[in-house]
């Protein structure tokens, strides 16, 4: 069994599970849209105001949607014992982890990024700013997912970990949020978004290289309990 | 002396800051000392209990 074949099996397993719970797959998307909807309804439809805060709204909504989805990252596997099997399997745990997170991102986060331009237009964002928005989300959401998954795996052993997870993860999310929105805001006022993009890219690469190891360490600790 | 306390009009800000510093430092010394005594006491009880239990066995 080649590595690629087993990777393919793993990803298709994730997609199959998601497909069997289609109604749940819609949850992040619905949440994202609803949160974005709250702001024009709550603040009033003034186009200039909405245009000014649109990057923040979309980024915050995406961040919250990812936060909500973190609870599921390894939860079901932990509870039914699959996680122990994964630790004992032939495949290196890092690979399994990365595949799982890739599938999670594709299923839970990528649809949000596809929807973001639609919502951005509804909030009055111009096209080139939307482009920056998409790139910032593409760079930033992996960081959010990886860091969030690390903390979620650390709290796996705690039964009701929802609130604690959110509190632990928020200070780590804020820098990503700030850089993401400042990239979009820079384009909105006509300046270059290169600075924030470089930082986001650096954070993305940093989290991609380091968090899998942290997640594996956390999984092994949680499983050995 | 009263000029010293008055701090050029900023008495509230300056003295509250210094008072808070005192409180923080105080809590971080006294708190651990009290906890240490409690822990020693409960460890001592725990050991006595262990001895009693193993004597009965």
């Amino acid at each position: 069994m080649t590595t690629f074949h087993s990777l393919y099996l793993l990803i298709s397993r994730e997609f199959l599970i998601a497909f069997r719970q289609r109604h749940e797959a819609l949850n992040p998307i619905l949440f994202f849209v609803l949160v974005c909807l709250l702001f024009p309804l709550g603040i009033g439809p003034s186009p200039q105001l909405l245009n000014a805060i649109a990057p923040g709204i979309i980024w915050a909504a995406a961040l919250l949607a990812i936060l909500m989805s973190l609870g599921n990252v390894f939860r079901t596997e932990y509870e039914d014992g699959t996680l122990e099997l994964m630790v004992l399997a032939n495949q290196p745990l890092i690979v399994l982890t990365l595949i799982k997170l890739l599938a999670h991102w594709l299923l839970n986060v990528f649809p949000l990024i596809l929807l973001a331009p639609l919502i951005a237009s509804a909030l009055g964002m111009s096209f080139d700013v939307q482009l920056t928005l998409i790139v910032s989300l593409l760079l930033g959401t992996p960081v959010l997912l990886l860091v969030g998954a690390t903390v979620a795996t650390l709290t796996l052993v705690i039964p009701q970990n929802g609130m604690l997870l959110a509190l632990l993860v928020l200070p780590l999310y804020v820098p990503v949020l700030i850089f993401g929105t400042s990239a979009v805001n820079a384009t909105a006022i006509g300046m270059s978004a290169a600075g924030p993009f470089y930082v986001l890219a650096a954070l993305c690469v940093l989290s991609l290289t380091l968090s899998p190891f942290a997640i594996v360490a956390a999984i092994k600790t949680g499983v050995s309990q | 002396m009263s000029e010293f306390l008055y701090m050029g009009g900023y008495a509230f800000h300056v003295w509250t800051s210094y008072a808070l510093a005192f409180v923080v430092l105080f809590i971080n010394i006294v708190g651990p000392i009290v906890r240490h005594r409690k822990m020693l006491q409960s460890a001592s009880d725990f050991q006595q209990l262990n001895e009693v239990m193993s004597d009965d066995a």
Binding site: T150, T155, V174, P175 | F4, H13, Y18, L20, Q47
Partner: protein, 248 residues
Amino acid sequence: MMKWIHTMASSAWFYRFSGKMIPWLMAIFTVLFVYGLYGGLVTAPADYQQGDAFRIIYIHVPAAWMSLFIYIVMAVYAFIALVWRIKLAEVLLISSAPIGAAFTFLALVTGSLWGKPMWGTWWSWDARLTSELLLLFLYWGVIGLYAAIEDKRTASRAVSILTLIGVVNIPIIHYSVEWWNTLHQGSSVTLTDKPSMPIEMLMPLLVMATAFKVFYAISLLLRTRSELVEREPNSKWLKQVIEENEHE
């Protein structure tokens, strides 16, 4: 060398060593603290623009320096605990967190008290204040996560990983005044350049900073001792200590 490290890492040795160190550290701290207070409140001349309100600096800046310093030290402990699995490093890590949180809190509140007369506002969402507030949440997160997990060794591993993830925030805080145009003042004291402050103003600041570091050592040793006792109630060294205490 390894034998020396392993001796130092043993709870028994650490307990006795810290017991002897604490009185000396208390004496050093008292001297430095009194000297710093006198220098800051009496000797230092009032600032040209800010008047006597600037004296808050002698609490605010050392507290802020400590909030960063302690987190970095915690990150070092976390690294040692994860790589070499030394239990004492785990205990030092979790004992440092409340002290760091206390200093961060002190820095934020004294900053608020200083900001009101100087900038006209108790709070602003500029980069340095916001990232310092995030640091407070990071400390609380470490304390909360450790408290939430029942098994202490698992809790320590989890907290070590969390600390290392959060260490990214430290450069952000430090360089925030350079990267963003902020309300907060830029650095007047650096390691390399000449300070932009006269020596009568600078000296109490450095003395207070050292005093706070000594204080951190005292509080850390005290807390570590209680945590060691709590973790190893049945150990031989503790039995000896309790017997010695009873003989006194």
